[in-house]
Symmetry: C3
């Protein structure tokens, strides 16, 4: 056991209207007094494993060397395994074996050690079949935060046995690139599964893009930040995590488009008349 | 005064759109530096004292030995007393004398000492008549967290004088049991005032239940967890706090039923045809 | 560097549906381990600089001596400066130079020292043009929290060069006073830019007020707290920050009035018939 516990970072789809996140916080402080908890987000869309995995990966470099507990878990209470992973860079991860943790663990250098959470000493028995966050993941995170060994938590797993996750890639169609909305934030800004390089490739030297959403067409200025365009104007920019995003300065792109995660947007250069 | 403050657990109906919860956090750190604060929930429905009391009781065993400050307080600023309670198990409680704290205090072994919060040294004067959380409860919680004596906070109260709370019980009607919805969570799962034993009693060996909501009838599978039924299917399960709950796998029971806390649901066995 | 970091108080318009606030928390703990973070509020309306400035000023006296990081920043990524201020009372402030910090800094005794956040050692490079909270303000707040000198963060600024903010004042119209709604809280209570003195002046000895909202007229009782009027009844009271507010006991004034921040309400005495 170390003197000062590592912080615990929580990412879930619990929302904050209920007590779920607070209860996990309580379990962690009960079993590892003094632990600092960062509520990274509880706003992952319900059961949106892919969104959770991408947020976890994208934010990892901004977190201290911590224990990350992530819960987006449509299979809670079924045969899917509960796992803990020590990554090669010294970070640890706790969550369901459904792919949620994998992109972040790869960002953290890959798996050093990996176990199945089966030790009754580090679970709250009887485990509720619908709340492993409280009864399985929080006690495991507390144990790791307090400096306990990962091997105490259960039998070792072969890293190759971990459930993978498929991250959708954009696909070309004529002179367009078709991307997928993977998140919409509180300001209505919609991030796509496209990076800066892909935007440059499809748009070339054009300073404006045509966006096709369903049967509707929109024109967006390429810009670095919101205030580079007029209020109410649409822009295409690279978001703080490196993803192409569409926004309306002082407005909401998601309201204008009526789009949700999973929807497709085609992007092509707009040739100025 | 002890060296390390006890944590403070906050439960309120303040929501988190405003600064109310953050201001209470500030007052606690101002008066008891270093205190760890657990925001258990600020999502209790406005003025829903019964819901707050049940959440407080149900989550208590998952919290560290702490000072709980709970504020769901329709009578703020009136003659209702503000109180602090040391429970027999070493936990302390601060809140309005409207029954909110009582079920949790009973869970914590009952009242050891109890006072009325009247000492001007442990209030922010002048006390705002509509925000006792900031001006009365947070300073008292900070004092107790830092190891101060409960007797500093005001005159002792007779525990028998505390305002009780009535917890509604289910009632039988023919071969049905009529329960009351006491909460609906972010996923649309609705918890009832029925435990596992009562469900077993009314349903016997049946593996499916009929639910009557108003004039509509629904059929729900008895299941341990969401993924035990098909997506879109209704299930009746025991929630993580031991209450019977209705849910839709990958959907929302509250959307399907249009139910709110206080509504009644009749449950009876479904005889397979 | 001091032994124990000062707490950091966060006020933003980030909301809590996304990871923005959690990421800032992570950056602070990465660079200043052990710092306690108070999430004062992330519920400022998007880009509502005036509302943010008033909340920051009104809540300051309830916060410990801390580093306040405030971000309501419509001009993010443009030429507007990013600044840090040491106030004369020992508090520090970090945020955009758009007037947001000014009323709170005045409350804290005024500017002792002020710098422009330009040092690459205390920014996350490359700085994302749309997320200075993460890349500029959080690293600066962490540096100050850990006891670092404000002069490390960039070149000194003339306090007279800081961007001011205009706070709207009520205006008389006949025997009425016309106030402006500056916030609506979760309970639907609407606070106006009027203090207790101004209410006394316009209402005199009257115990009821007439409120004019657009073309509609309402009658409100003057009261100290909600429960002083009947359920469903409208009241005019002084809110916990000293502002005149309109509320409905056990209801929502904003639902009754359909009002939003910026709307005007005329108040005059109601002469009892």
């Amino acid at each position: 056991m170390t003197d000062t516990p590592r912080p615990v970072v929580l990412l879930t789809d619990f929302g904050i209207a209920d007590d779920f996140a607070g209860v996990c916080h309580g379990v962690i402080l009960q079993r590892a007094p003094g632990t600092q908890v960062i509520h990274l987000t509880h706003g992952i869309a319900p059961q949106a494993v892919l969104q959770g995995a991408l947020v976890l990966r994208g934010t990892l470099r901004y977190m201290p060397t911590a224990v990350t507990m992530a819960v987006v878990d449509p299979g809670v209470g079924t045969e899917r395994r509960a796992i803990a992973i020590d990554a090669k860079d010294g970070r640890s991860f706790v969550g369901p074996d459904n792919g949620l943790l994998i992109p972040a663990v790869e960002e953290a250098g890959g798996v050093a050690r990996c176990v199945s959470l089966e030790s009754p000493d580090h679970r709250l028995e009887p485990v509720a079949p619908t709340f492993h966050g409280r009864d399985v993941f929080a006690p495991a995170a507390a144990h790791l935060a307090a400096g306990g060994a990962i091997s105490d938590l259960g039998p070792a797993l072969d890293p190759d046995s971990l459930t993978p996750i498929e991250i959708p890639v954009p696909r070309p169609a004529g002179d367009s690139l078709i991307g997928q909305v993977w998140s919409v934030d509180r300001f209505g800004n919609a991030s796509l599964n496209l990076g800066r390089a892909e935007i440059s490739e499809v748009l070339g030297d054009a300073s404006r893009a045509e966006l096709v959403v369903g049967k509707r067409r929109y024109y967006a200025a390429l810009a670095e930040t919101f205030a580079n365009v007029r209020p109410g104007e649409l822009l295409l920019y690279v978001d703080p995590y490196g993803f192409a995003s569409v926004a309306v300065n002082r407005g909401s792109a998601s309201d204008m488009f009526d789009i949700s995660p999973g929807d497709e947007i085609a992007i092509c250069p707009l040739v100025e008349a």
